[in-house]
């Protein structure tokens, strides 16, 4: 059990982490999701005990560990950069936390070999990390975190610097490997899709603040506010200011769509996920809007169509290859029943 109570971090008058409370349970996988500089690494460092919080306390298993030296905490951490001990062999790198814990030699050997097998490092045990590829180096770091058997494992964008194929493989294996240890796993990432693939719980971060914490799929489906929805959307969430009068929202550009019942008249912000926009009408309430394509990106099986709408850039994710030319006029359909409605100050009202 790891608990942050009103923890904050201020460095030279700059708030890195606003007062934050968070409770993580053993055996859970927790994703910290947010863009760069949102405070993911700062929060991880506070959890690890590498930095001391400016205010608030950190509790581990019912004990106040605020300010306790990181050597005395039972944590393991893996950085985005591949951090190993270049002077030691891969075997000694992985074995190092066990050696320091004065484990018997036979046990060290068994554990290191088991971890190396899991991370597919067995052929490289006698090499030094700098002679390995980036993926192998990072797997060495992960193996070291694994053998330690720490109750808190912190992974700071561990797969960000790896190539695509390896990233997919490890992303699938990591939660499984660490889940067996019963540790609290905290995984920081900038990619919403990675959070969804990992599952578990997600805390979305925005400017040093946790905007929402809960089951990943819940946070994704039912964001509490606009910043959470924006943080948890890739490609970015399409938003537009709207004014409700009567039964309809009046959007910029003279478009009007059916508004959900029970909302007072007044200003709102509407959010539409890119894959909820379509090239054809999806229901009878579907509203068509005229769009001028600014650019089209084709990934092979899907097309990202960018167009300006209501003063901001919108993007539609649509299946199939659509080679729209810049400047081409198209009609984009929006399904009001799948719209998210936010109040003018960003609180969610309708999902």
């Amino acid at each position: 059990m790891l608990e942050l109570r009103e923890v904050s971090k201020v460095v030279e008058g700059e708030t890195h982490i606003a007062p934050t409370s968070l409770m993580l349970t053993p055996g859970s996988l927790n994703v910290l999701l947010g863009p760069s500089l949102s405070g993911k690494t700062s929060l991880l460092r506070l959890m690890a005990g590498l930095d001391r919080p400016t205010t608030g306390t950190v509790w581990a298993d019912g004990k106040d560990v605020t300010g306790v030296d990181v050597r005395r905490r039972n944590v393991a951490m893996v950085y985005q950069q591949f951090v190993n001990y270049p002077a030691l062999t891969v075997f000694e790198n992985i074995a190092s936390p066990l050696r320091l814990a004065r484990a018997p030699a036979a046990e060290i050997d068994a554990k290191v070999r088991a971890a190396a097998e899991l991370m597919r490092l067995t052929p490289y045990l006698d090499r030094t990390p700098l002679t390995l590829s980036g993926g192998q180096q990072q797997r060495t770091a992960l193996a070291r975190a694994l053998v330690k058997g720490a109750s808190l494992v912190l992974l700071d964008e561990p797969l960000a610097n790896l190539d695509y194929k390896l990233r997919e493989e490890l992303r699938e294996e990591l939660p499984r490997i660490f889940a067996q240890s019963g540790a609290i796993l905290v995984y920081a990432t900038t990619e919403p899709s990675e959070a969804l693939l990992l599952g578990g719980n997600t805390a979305t971060l925005h400017e040093g603040r946790i905007t929402q914490f809960g089951l990943t799929i819940e946070v994704f489906r039912n964001p509490a506010d606009l910043t959470t929805a924006q943080a948890f959307s890739d490609p970015p969430l399409n938003t537009v200011a709207a004014n409700k009068t009567g039964a309809n929202f009046m959007l910029g550009g003279g478009l009007s769509v059916v508004a959900p019942k029970g909302l007072a008249d007044g200003p709102y912000v509407l959010g539409v996920r890119p894959h909820h926009l379509a090239l054809s009408a999806q229901g009878k309430s579907s509203a068509g809007l005229g769009a001028t394509v600014s650019v089209t990106e084709i990934t092979g099986s899907e097309s990202f169509v960018h167009f300006p709408f209501g003063g901001s850039d919108w993007v539609m994710l649509t299946p199939g290859v659509h080679e729209f030319q810049p400047g081409e006029a198209i009609k984009v359909f929006l399904d009001p029943s799948r719209m998210m409605v936010f109040s003018a100050d960003g609180q969610v009202l309708v999902n």
Partner: protein, 260 residues
């Protein structure tokens, strides 16, 4: 072509010294000869058999090694602190340390002599070794700090998370990473201390007299012993050349990585 000529030009004095060391005094003073007419090792024999000569070498090597060891031992923790921690006045202190090198050694001859006399340290190896630290420690801190700052801080943190104590981390994990820096630093400390004459001569009289001082006192009643002096010169170049040979790879790396 031009580099070759230039290198030949640079080699001329060294060749002349080597050739003189193999000649007799008669040949040196008697006329001009491009190479020794009857090469002899007699001059070298004088140096290796006369204690007043070879003790000069031993004395020099003792205080140079002492100085290099002290400089590294002091500079390693200092450089680590400057590289990893921020404390009040750290940048000023770093600069002040370096300003110690701005004065010529001659400036410090008087205070050192007076101070060391008071403590009875005159004519000991440690006196010269410590005196040279005034110049070598700042240089060593400066070079090492550059190398240490090139090592990512995350390695330190990972080691602490793994449970390394500071000394164990420093010697087992950190020192190997800056081995080239330590090599380069040792080289510069060695060079300064080996070449420096003024302080070494002033602080010693008999027992710790350095070779360079011995060489300046060879004008005897029978005149100048040119051949022996030339042989001593060649032998004085040898340790420097050896050190360069051993650290040449480190130096090359050092020039690429660090602060040199």
């Amino acid at each position: 072509m031009i580099p070759t000529l230039y290198i030949l030009f640079l080699m001329v004095p060294i060749y002349w010294l080597a050739s003189m060391s193999l000649k007799t005094n008669g040949e040196i003073t008697g006329g001009f000869s491009l190479w020794p007419r009857s090469p002899t090792l007699a001059n070298y024999k004088v140096i290796f058999t006369d204690p007043s000569w070879y003790h000069g070498y031993i004395n020099s090597i003792i205080y140079v090694v002492m100085n290099t060891a002290i400089s590294l031992a002091v500079a390693l923790p200092a450089a680590y602190a400057f590289s990893r921690y921020r404390f009040l006045g750290d940048k000023h202190l770093f600069f002040w340390l370096f300003t110690n090198r701005m004065a010529p050694p001659a400036v410090f001859v008087l205070p050192f002599f007076q101070l060391y006399s008071a403590f009875g340290l005159i004519d000991t190896h440690i006196a010269v070794a410590i005196a040279h630290c005034l110049f070598n420690v700042p240089l060593a801190v400066w070079i090492l700090e550059g190398f240490m700052s090139g090592v990512p801080r995350e390695i330190d943190e990972t080691a602490y998370i793994d449970g390394y104590s500071f000394p164990r981390f420093f010697f087992r994990i950190f020192t190997p990473l800056i081995a080239s820096g330590i090599g380069v630093t040792a080289f510069f400390c060695f060079m300064f201390s080996w070449v420096e004459l003024l302080l070494a001569r002033t602080l010693t009289t008999v027992n710790a007299k350095p070779i360079a001082a011995v060489m300046t006192r060879t004008v005897s009643a029978s005149g100048m012993d040119w051949g022996v002096l030339a042989a001593a010169g060649i032998l004085t170049i040898v340790p420097g050349a050896l050190v360069i040979w051993f650290v040449r790879n480190y130096i090359a790396k050092g020039f690429a990585l660090g602060r040199v």
